[in-house]
């Protein structure tokens, strides 16, 4: 599915300083029954965000109007667990375009890149700095610059660079997805398949 191009994102951020945030928390399995990609944002962090009777839990960060923005900042090992792309959809559909952490689970990272959410992996020290800055001022703005591969705390100018492979970067910058690429090389794949032993 096509997504909007990603170049430079300047936004305040929502902090979630919890380690090992797993995909069952991001979107619980019982919300995976849809057959279309719709309304997943409503159930993002469902059980942390709402009581069982559907009322919001006031102490959860997404229910605190002081925090907002298009960047989610999570603790180490973000997105562990299942392969459900619904986790990345929920994050995107809620309105985030970028998740920042000091470590990401593999499948979540791949899924995010495939649907237009940029995972930005930074050092534990810089992550702490961001959490501290947001704690001091919830309106703290971050700049995620994909062409330069940097993330900056605008108020202080502190900055760090992040990795992304050239191919994925090109896709994100242009809003392309892998399926377009693969469709274009179908004959090559067919020739390969013909020589496969299985």
């Amino acid at each position: 599915m096509a997504y909007d191009k990603f170049t430079i994102l300047r936004s305040s951020a929502v902090p979630l300083p919890i380690e090992n945030v797993d995909t069952d928390q991001i979107i619980p399995a019982r919300f995976l029954k849809a057959t279309e990609r719709k309304e997943f944002g409503d159930n993002l962090f469902r059980d942390w965000r709402y009581n069982q009777d559907g009322t919001p839990k006031e102490d959860f960060i997404l229910n605190n109007p002081v925090y907002s923005g298009r960047i989610l900042v999570g603790g180490k090992n973000f997105g562990s667990g299942s392969s459900r792309e619904h986790a990345a959809w929920a994050i995107y559909d809620y309105g985030f375009r970028c998740v920042v952490s000091s470590f990401f689970a593999d499948i979540f990272k791949g899924n995010s890149l495939n649907i237009g959410v940029l995972p930005v992996q930074i050092s534990g020290e810089f992550l702490d700095k961001i959490f501290t800055a947001i704690e001091a001022d919830p309106k703290t703005e971050l700049e995620v610059n994909l062409p330069e591969q940097t993330i900056t705390i605008l108020a202080t100018g502190e900055s760090e660079s992040f990795d992304i492979n050239g191919y994925k970067k090109h896709n994100m910058l242009n809003g392309f997805d892998d399926i377009d690429y693969l469709q274009a090389m179908k004959d090559e794949v067919k020739a390969f398949a013909a020589s496969s032993m299985y």
Partner: protein, 477 residues
């Protein structure tokens, strides 16, 4: 092929690279693609929107498992959303000519159980599925891993995905496993040492005599849990045990094709001089029956041990406290004797015949504890049939247990098999995340033996106390 020493993983990976993209992923060819009702509908929708076809329906296999009911499967599925997903799987499969094992089909069952059972999973293959426990198939010396829905769409439309090659890790476990120590305990032990992110970015090869002596069912249990330490997958070099398991299965090669395949499969092992990016070695003697006490699979301990102090664990103190708080446990407490409300035996981790044999070995001649609700769920109809034929069903009934029908069930609780809020479940599945088995449920991951011991005593119990002396249920089962 070059003469540089290579690993099992290199051999299989390199044989499937269609194109290398500079500073990008490999275009990676997929031999077998399993699909199920939950992660495929949006992918099919994507195909439709783009107006492209399924490239190789004969390489694709559909089975219904994630949200199927485990009782009264002959009746229409009551939950309309689940029924809709199941219908879509059926109609999409029919439309594109994909083999489909729906509810009530004798071949139906959990995707990672039925693939090997029918000889679809073979050594040297690349196998993907929109489910992270696809790593199970690595037990056959295949490269198998879970993918997201965008990738499901890629494989349907082009039989390829874009993958950077992961780094290589070898985990060796040597020695003899103790009494009552099963493959599940080996897996939980390794994860407790590695943490849930310790193998992120790596593909693991399991080596050493513990795995060499393990049955295929046991190897599947171990490879299944690879993802729980962050690894993309895990694999074990195929050997006589593998070949004997495959030989004669419906979709396995026959006659001349078998001989040819066998000759190739025998080359699928790591060369002696080949190197890994990271190696770990563990001693089988250090492993005891395991149980988890927290909210990720890395939070496991030997069943006789106490819950670690927050100072002894890696990572943030607040995350650790949050986790114990959720579980209603405290630092330094003993696990033995904790009350258990539910017992779940099943899932693609422990839903094969050996698991039910192990469970039966302990409950035989005993009675289910009154405070325990038990869900005994075979991984497939074939397993269900074996349970009946081997007399295990009679043992279950005499002890007061019911056998349910196959499916993922309480492993992810998408159907009605949900553990109520606050209740404790000893579960043979693979994840103990918050709410995994139902909102606010509390999961203790363990082997079928530990599950059996809990089911008959109503509390966390060391299974070795209930095992007959001469009964050697251990790593090889």
């Amino acid at each position: 092929m070059s003469n540089t020493p290579s690993t099992l993983f290199d051999k299989v990976w390199d044989a499937h690279v269609v194109r290398k993209i500079e500073d990008g992923p490999d275009v990676f060819f997929i031999d077998r693609h399993f699909i199920h009702e939950v992660t495929s509908p949006v992918a099919f929708l994507g195909l439709q929107t783009r107006g492209v076809d399924v490239m190789s329906p004969e390489r694709t296999f559909a089975t219904a498992d994630h949200n199927t009911p485990t009782i009264n499967q002959h009746l229409p599925v009551a939950d309309p959303l689940s029924a809709n997903q199941l219908n879509q799987l059926e109609t999409n499969s029919a439309k594109y000519g994909i083999s489909h094992w729906g509810l009530n089909n004798p071949k139906n069952g959990i995707v990672h159980v039925v693939g090997p059972e029918n000889g679809i999973t073979l050594p040297g293959m690349t196998i993907v599925c929109g489910d992270s426990h696809t790593s199970t198939h690595g037990a056959f010396g295949a490269i198998a891993f879970g993918i997201g829905t965008s990738e499901v769409e890629m494989v349907l439309s082009s039989q390829c995905i874009m993958q950077p090659k992961p780094k290589k890790m070898r985990i060796s476990v040597n020695g003899k496993l103790g009494r009552g120590v099963t493959p599940k305990d080996v897996a939980l032990y390794i994860i407790s040492k590695m943490s849930t992110s310790g193998a992120t970015g790596y593909f693991v090869e399991y080596a050493g005599d513990v795995f060499e002596n393990m049955s295929m069912e046991g190897r599947m249990t171990v490879c299944n849990m690879s993802i729980e330490m962050g690894a993309r997958g895990g694999m074990i070099a195929p050997d006589e045990t593998t070949f004997n398991y495959i030989n004669g299965r419906e979709k396995a090669p026959k006659g001349e094709a078998w001989e040819k395949a066998l000759a190739y499969w025998k080359t699928l092992k790591t060369d002696p001089e080949a190197s890994f990016d990271l190696e770990y070695t563990f001693d089988a003697a250090d492993i005891e029956p395991m149980i988890t006490y927290g909210t990720n699979p890395g939070m496991g301990i030997g069943i006789s041990k106490h819950i670690p102090l927050s100072g002894e664990v890696e990572g943030g103190k607040s995350s650790y406290e949050k986790s114990l708080n959720y579980m209603g446990f405290h630092e330094d407490e003993e696990m033995i004797g904790k009350k258990v409300d539910y017992v779940f035996v099943g899932s693609c981790t422990n839903g094969r015949i050996e698991d039910f044999r192990a469970f039966a070995s302990i409950i035989k001649g005993r009675k289910k504890a009154d405070n325990v609700t038990a869900w005994i769920v075979p991984g497939s109809h074939v397993v269900e049939q074996q349970i009946k034929e081997e007399g295990i069903l009679d043992i279950l009934h005499e002890a007061g247990f019911q056998l349910r029908q196959p499916g993922c069930s309480a492993c992810l609780a998408m159907n009605d098999d949900k553990v109520p809020a606050g209740k404790y479940a000893v579960s043979t599945s693979n994840r103990n995340f918050e709410g995994r088995q139902g909102p606010n449920s509390r999961t203790l991951l363990a082997s079928p033996l530990v599950a059996a011991a809990a089911a008959v005593t109503g509390v966390v119990t060391d299974p070795r106390e209930l095992m007959e002396e001469e009964l050697e249920v251990s790593g090889t089962y």
